[in-house]
């Protein structure tokens, strides 16, 4: 198939007004306005983060802040929302392209950096809700403690325990404090067994995306 010129692509895409009408018909005007007004940060764009981003972009979240320092690797493609021809490019850049294909009017801010205790406050300052979507347990704990200690007004949705081929039904969302939700089975470590399996990681990511939408809808119980 020949590649399309920019104007042809633009012509094929519904207008922003049509997009907004469709989302409001789907979610109701009041709820969609809450989604559109929200800024959600996603820290880590792997199996959790890339899937959270797709769910939230499709749901009509107004702005996503996407943060990851890494490139797309062939070992990512079995569970992450990237394509074969994106291997080698930054995940921030690849995910931004893919999200714009499914939800062209979502506002996206990308930061191709490693989040540290020193940089987190500035990177996350505009977010209403922060999704922890890292791979490493120490990084998960670092961000969780940092957000809850230093940014106590923000909501944190973290994840722990989604590796392996265990039951889908053990992945849960739990409210730990008024601002801290934790998704996963809390025990399945990536270092045990067969590692990460696409469907179970996506389940956990869906739990995270779903509680984000519930918080925005002011439904705070899990």
């Amino acid at each position: 198939m020949r590649s399309l010129a920019l104007w042809e692509v633009v012509n094929l895409i519904p207008t922003k007004e049509a997009w907004d009408v469709a989302l409001k018909e789907r979610h109701g005007e009041e709820l969609q306005e809450k989604f559109s007004a929200a800024t959600v940060a996603i820290c880590g764009l792997g199996g959790l983060g890339s899937n959270i981003a797709v769910s939230l972009a499709r749901a009509g979240i107004g702005k996503l802040i996407l943060i990851d320092f890494d490139h797309v690797d062939i070992s990512n493609l079995h569970r992450q929302q990237y394509k074969a021809d994106q291997i080698g490019i930054y995940k921030t850049e690849a995910l931004c392209e893919n999200l714009k294909e499914v939800a062209p009017y979502v506002v996206i801010e990308t930061h191709t950096v490693r989040i540290t205790e020193d940089s987190a406050v500035e990177l996350l300052k505009d977010a209403d809700i922060i999704c922890e979507a890292f791979d490493g347990a120490e990084a998960k704990a670092m961000l969780t403690n940092l957000v809850l200690e230093v940014m106590p007004k923000k909501y944190l949705v973290a994840a722990s325990g989604m590796a392996g081929l265990g039951s889908a039904n053990t992945i849960k969302t739990r409210k730990v404090t008024n601002k801290f939700y934790l998704c996963g089975d809390e025990v399945s470590d990536v270092k045990d067994g067969i590692g990460l399996v696409s469907s179970r990681v996506m389940l956990c990511a869906a739990h995270q995306a779903h509680i984000v939408l519930r918080i925005l809808a002011e439904e705070y119980e899990v």
Partner: protein
């Protein structure tokens, strides 16, 4: 008694740091909630557990 992760333990009077030292938790992989609030890591050595406290240690595992 102090309730920690649902279990009643006789640790009132100990600090959070002292309690954690008796466990297998990796201090770099945890967050500690006490009576609904997160306890800043720097305050583990100064936070004394009191009778009736409800504490939860969230211990992260890898994968994402």
């Amino acid at each position: 008694m102090v309730k920690i992760n649902g279990e009643k333990l006789d640790v009132a009077g100990k600090t959070i740091a002292e309690y954690l030292a008796t466990t297998k938790y990796d201090p770099k992989r945890i967050a500690v909630e006490r009576n609904g609030d997160i306890v800043p890591k720097a305050q583990y050595p100064d936070t004394v557990l009191e009778d009736g406290d409800s504490v939860e240690v969230v211990s992260f595992v890898g994968g994402g």
